[in-house]
Point group: C2
Chain length 413, copies 2
């Protein structure tokens, strides 16, 4: 029997009516002959409520206890989901992370999956049951409950699909699929039929919020077809798959904007081996996630070093660099908290020239000043003033014709 | 290190303020040198909310899924409780039933404890930690979550105290201890300093709601000292202990009233072996809990059979006896749904005469009609009209001087 994994996020199971709607989606796949494994998140605002309850008792709750607390949200959803299916005449059984031996390391609130006990699920599917698994949670070797952090339920779903050898992992969400850009900003963005894991990783890391990068990494590693689609209609969404030759024909797949960023610069740092390492070791210790590191020499002995962070990490980052400032002979620290990053992504740009030029020209014509530029093999990102960010995204989308499906775009670039 | 188990019910942990108050109670025991294991119930109305959520999706939810759902209530409390202790500077760790291997049978929603893994708790206590255990829940041999039914957290606490060899199991509640009668009805009821397990079992079974009979049975079987006391003051409550010789001097320990009862009578049943068995087998199959069975011969060949039930079981009971009526040649069925039961309990009455007479006289003087009478070795119960029940309890309490501590009562009975 072919297996399909269906993941429903918090908004898709927020109340009884939505759980019933999701259950009907499951039943449809069952009627089509699939063995169905459902992964569900906590209902709507349940997690927020539990976090508020915790903070009322302890401004800095122990992470183990936080995981013990938050994991109840998903446990509630899966039992309710199984009840809904039972009421519709279908045999269903719910499992916690513990019950399916979703083994993780002990990094509470951000644990990594180590192994999954697929046998118990196979056994239930073989009995003709629908299996409902609590997303986001696992246990460590001492049976402590762990959670996987942001995007955890996506990761659970993709990992389960890999462990079960599922045909496909369907991620149900409130949009039709992955779009060429954010439709809230660039109204004419079009849905992509397919996208490669690598492109999706770049898009997700640089502002496209539909899926968490970790789940995509997992899918790439274990070769899981991921289908991102709408929970409110039957339209096909976007398939995230391995790169196929024809993808190279699409030069730019999508464009993103990432807001709420800050930039920290260290001016005139002694340019000796080890200084950069010291800076980033300090930032890691302060749990600051850093992107877009740029270092440039300004003299024989001095260099400037800058990096981007989420604005919520700014206080911690400032503290960390202040502590290291003297040790690396840094002449000054500057901070920008009014910055955003626009990016274009596409595996086609590896073999095409002119993408950077087209992007910079579009920004220049719109009088958007570029603060700094970073690139990967399949991405170009520009830091810009936050209040110009949406305009910047719009002109980039227009320049790369992201309002059209790939085959209708001009190929002059 | 001497261990103490402290159990806090749902009202004692209903909100952050109450959890903090309970945590202070725990800390006090820690400061007194005890290793403390806390057993906590779901917060306030959480369980009711979860039941409502379930019924919205399924009027008859599968019991396994119901247990999976309801067990989250206690899991939330214990993690929050551990966070509260952490905020007060004390090292605490919370456990689910699964995590301490609280093994039960597979009777979902009314499981029985089979064994407890005490090692994990001992290990944590040895590290100087306070251990917080989710009450009411366990797992069966296939890791399915089970719940223990009504009074489940009391049972968890007493069972843990037994497994850990605890000095004492403290049951925190909203009353000062066990009273000679219900103070809401008989205002002058006095708190008992101690009571035997057997008396407490009868009192609990016949209307005293403070503790569930199962927990008391467990305490008796495993020799656990149970201390029922108030969560809002420091006064000693009531110790439930094994019978000691001086207890015999107290003829009647307490009096109870049990309302919302119904009586079902089967008139003119063929008095042949096996007929009573057939009736109660049918009732058991319908999950009706029966008490006070009375059978009396009315002729050589015919007998009347009656029993009491909770009013909520009346519809099921009526249906069950209707089904069996013809098979046992029953001439008629009568039902009373306006009945209550008043009882007096005391191990002293085993060796004293006159208790029954005093009770019946008191009821007669108050013009309370007695519908039927049943007795055990240490209890006499009278079924009375429900609207006379409170008056009946008052006159019985007065007759047995339950407004005074035992040593001040006259010994004329």
């Amino acid at each position: 029997m072919a297996i399909i994994v269906q993941k429903f996020g918090g908004t898709s199971v927020a109340d009884a009516e939505k759980i019933r709607r999701a259950a009907k989606r499951v039943i449809k796949a069952v009627e089509n002959g699939f063995g169905v494994v459902v992964v569900a998140s906590a209902r709507g605002k349940q997690t927020d409520q539990l976090i508020a309850d915790a903070l009322e008792l302890n401004p800095n709750p122990p992470k183990r206890e936080m995981d013990q607390l938050l994991s109840t949200g998903e446990q509630q959803t899966v039992s309710l989901f199984a009840m809904a299916l039972d009421a519709m005449g279908y045999d269903a059984i719910s499992f916690t992370g513990s019950q399916i031996r979703m083994m993780t390391d002990s990094a509470h609130t951000m644990a990594r999956i180590k192994s999954i006990g697929a046998e118990r699920i196979h056994k239930q599917l073989d009995k003709g049951r629908i299996v409902i698994v609590a997303g986001f949670q696992g246990i460590d070797k001492d049976e402590n409950i762990t959670t996987l952090g942001r995007g955890g339920s996506d990761t659970t779903a993709v990992a389960l699909a890999a462990a079960l050898g599922a045909e496909e992992c369907e991620i149900y969400t409130d949009v039709d699929g992955i779009h060429t850009s954010d439709p809230r900003i660039f109204k004419n963005a079009v849905k992509m039929d397919e996208i490669s894991y690598d492109e999706m990783l770049e898009l997700a890391s640089f502002g496209a919020g539909v899926m968490h990068p970790r789940a995509i990494e997992f899918g790439k590693k274990y070769d899981v077809k991921i289908h991102v689609r709408s929970s409110s209609n039957e339209t096909d969404g976007t398939m995230i798959i391995h790169e196929v030759p024809q993808m190279e024909g699409v030069i730019v797949s999508g464009a993103t904007v990432k807001k709420d960023m800050a930039k920290v610069g260290l001016v005139g740092v002694d340019n000796v081996p080890g200084n950069a390492a010291k800076v980033f070791a300090h930032l890691a210790k302060a749990k600051v996630i850093v992107s877009d590191i740029i270092q440039t020499e300004i003299s024989d002995k001095k260099a400037n070093l800058s990096f981007m962070i989420g604005i919520s990490d700014l206080a911690a980052a400032k503290k960390a660099v202040e502590q290291i400032k003297d040790e690396i002979n840094c002449e000054g620290i500057f901070v920008r908290d009014d910055i955003a990053e626009v990016s274009v992504v596409g595996i086609g740009m590896r073999t095409h020239y002119g993408v950077a030029e087209k992007m910079f020209t579009a920004l220049a014509e719109a009088k958007v000043n570029i603060d700094s530029i970073t690139t990967s093999e399949i991405r170009i990102s520009c830091a810009v003033d936050e209040d110009q960010a949406e305009d910047a995204l719009k002109v980039i989308c227009a320049a790369f014709e992201l309002d059209k499906p790939p085959e209708q775009r001009s190929t002059s670039d």
